[in-house]
């Protein structure tokens, strides 16, 4: 539960940030004393991966992965790109992620609108059932899902990967958006009704614009999930040229031996797009967004 301030302010003046809190005196100086070492410690594992990515194979093989670097080379990055064919894998991941995220959010916002704003019988149960779908351990769906894609002739196509992931994410997105849509101010909908707006127009001119912050936040979260998915990709794809980045990374890991420096380089390249998406959407996260502000 929350105040109505953010949605209301969005409705009247979308650019306005939410209720401003009164200015207070600055933080205690201890804040940075604690946060700086904490952040450094937090980033150490990532720093380790970065350092590893610039080492040579012989350096890693003879001195160990954990050793301090004795070499500096970009070879690992070149090798990751050529051997792992990361370029195409990134493209595959990009296509799948964009389409999946857009489709998921469109469908989820439909369902959320319907469930939150109309007296659909058993709407609460329907919502819970949809959420329950997300509680299934995905591993158990693997075998049936691959059989289904085969019988539909979708097996081994990016389209299969998209529909499977759309289906699997819908419950959670609908659940979050439902909370958001339900909390939109009643007046706006009444006004629309008086204007004679139909369902479609209400959806387009009220629901979509007003839920934009929530959609942005979900888009960023969904992107990290879909982009980092491995298990569905392995289930419905078998042709290497269609593999997404996660599967390509896995192939960089040897069966018997691993070139750790190449794996590290590949993993950094693979992380870039999600990092960029996050930083692009960060504003939406932090300025006045209320993910599922009320249930």
């Amino acid at each position: 539960m929350t105040t109505s301030a953010p949605p209301a302010s969005v409705a009247t003046a979308p650019a306005q940030p939410p209720a401003r809190r009164p200015r207070r005196t600055g933080r205690s100086p201890w804040f940075h004393v604690v946060m700086v070492p904490f952040t450094v410690l937090w980033l150490l594992p990532l720093a380790f991966i970065v350092v590893l990515a610039f080492r040579s194979f012989d350096d890693v093989a003879s001195r160990g992965i954990g050793a301090l670097p004795a070499s500096f080379t970009l070879d690992a990055f070149t090798e990751a790109v050529t051997r792992g064919d990361l370029g195409r894998a990134l493209l595959n991941s990009g296509i799948v992620t964009v389409i999946t995220v857009v489709l998921s959010l469109v469908l989820a916002s439909w369902a959320a609108f319907a469930l939150a704003r109309f007296r659909i019988p058993f709407r609460r149960t329907v919502l819970l059932v949809m959420l329950a779908g997300n509680l299934l351990p995905p591993q158990i769906l693997l075998v049936p899902v691959s059989r289904i894609t085969q019988s539909l002739g979708l097996y081994d196509s990016l389209a299969a990967l998209v529909v499977v992931q759309v289906g699997f994410g819908l419950g959670f997105y609908t659940f979050v958006l439902h909370g958001f849509v339900r909390n939109l101010p009643q007046e706006v909908f009444e006004a629309a009704l008086i204007d004679g707006a139909g369902t479609l127009r209400t959806y387009r001119s009220i629901v979509l614009p007003l839920t934009r912050p929530a959609l942005a936040a979900l888009a960023a979260l969904a992107t990290t999930w879909v982009f980092n998915d491995l298990i569905w990709a392995m289930t419905v794809l078998r042709t290497e040229t269609r593999f997404p980045i996660t599967a390509a990374l896995l192939n960089l890991q040897g069966g018997y031996s691993t070139s750790w420096n190449v794996l590290a380089a590949g993993c950094l390249l693979a992380a870039l797009p999600t990092a960029l998406v996050f930083f692009a959407f960060q504003k939406h996260f932090v300025s006045g967004l209320l993910v599922g502000s009320d249930k």
Binding site: M1, T2, T3, S4, A5, R20, R21, P22, R27, M35, T39, P45, F48, I49, I65, G66, A108, W110, A111, F113, R119, I120, T125, V126, L128, A132, G133, L135, P137, Q139, I140, V143, P144, I148, V166, G167, L170, F172, V176, G179, E190, G198, T199, L200, A217, L221, T224, L230, L263, F285, V286, S287, G288, L289, L290, V291, G292, S293, D294, K295
Partner: protein, 320 residues
């Protein structure tokens, strides 16, 4: 809590939660009430299309799998019905017992630590200030690396004389083979998983905190409430919506945790870090015993449902 319900400035009473009732509409009979009673066909389409997609791609395969839990099936050939045998087998399976206990530890530890850590960091980093953006980004950054890869690299960090060892030796905790020691292995994996999850929870709470009405806190401060009281009595209740989402995400993620454990320990040493999900994967795919694997999946599903329903029902009661 009750004070908040009557706070001026809210857009009327909160929407109710009882099935079929909608206090907002009930109290304000008007055009909407009439409209709401008659659900337009397009709205049905809005609901049924997504629902059908989920039914088809999630529930239908799930039913298939659940029916497999009553069979013995090797992935090829016909499945042989065996009744409840797979479930009976769990009762005398020591690895299942270990995995179940580990899963409870995992849900509590992983869920508790990432929610507590994420909330604490969100509160600490909520107010803008110098360096706050950097801290936020730094804490979120691990999230961009996939779980499997996180596990791979953390395994290296934990190796003897690895980075973890070097950081901990000055404080007297060096020399432990974190992942090889059955007493520490599960917790070592847990730390890595929490490391990746905290930033995510923090982001959710940061978003939630933006909606917290600051004037209430001010008023409480004037009334002499200390920071701790203000946080628990005023901020936390207002975060309830976002907490529901966090709770759902946490339960889902902790029961589904798989990649990171698999990459770090494969459930070892000698099954001591086995979770239900890793054990299920091992049974279903390494050993291709899909009947038993499916039965384990049913258990995971029931646990998840149990947690979430309990939480939602309690919440619904608190609201009524």
């Amino acid at each position: 809590m009750t004070v908040l319900e009557r706070t001026p400035g809210r857009s009327g009473p909160r929407s109710g939660s009882g099935a079929g009732s909608d206090p907002a509409a009930a109290r304000r009979p008007g055009p909407r009430l009439r409209a709401a009673r008659r659900v337009p066909p397009l709205v049905w389409a809005f609901l049924l299309v997504p629902l059908a997609v989920e039914m088809f791609w999630v529930f239908w395969p799930a039913l298939n799998s659940f029916s497999l839990s009553f069979t013995r099936w090797r992935g090829v050939g016909p499945a042989e019905p065996v009744g409840w045998a797979n479930y009976q087998r769990m009762l005398d399976d020591p690895v299942f017992a270990t995995a179940l206990v580990n899963n409870v530890v995992w849900v509590v530890g992983f869920g508790g630590l990432s929610v507590a850590g994420g909330l604490a960091l969100a509160v600490a980093l909520n107010r803008p200030g110098r360096g706050v953006g950097v801290y936020r980004s730094a804490i979120y950054l691990p999230m961009v690396i996939s779980l499997a890869v996180t596990g791979l690299f953390w395994r290296v960090l934990y190796q003897p004389d690895g980075l973890v060892d070097r950081v901990l030796t000055p404080v007297g905790l060096g020399g432990t083979a974190w992942l090889a020691n059955p007493d520490t292995a599960l917790y070592a994996v847990l730390v890595a998983a929490v490391w990746r999850q905290v930033g995510y929870i923090m982001v959710l709470y940061l978003a939630g905190l933006k909606g917290v009405d600051a004037s209430l806190e001010e008023a409480a401060a004037v009334d002499g409430a200390n920071a701790w009281q203000r946080f628990w009595r005023i901020v936390v209740p207002q975060l309830r919506g976002v907490s529901t989402v966090v709770f759902a995400v946490t339960v889902i993620d902790s029961l589904r945790t798989f990649d990171i454990v698999w990459a770090m320990t494969r459930g070892g040493p000698y099954n001591q870090t086995q979770l239900l999900s890793t054990y299920m994967f091992q049974q279903s795919f390494s050993l291709v015993d899909l009947g038993y694997g499916s039965a384990l999946a049913v258990v995971i599903f029931l646990l998840a449902i149990g947690f979430i329903i309990t939480y939602l029902v309690r919440q619904a009661r608190a609201e009524d």
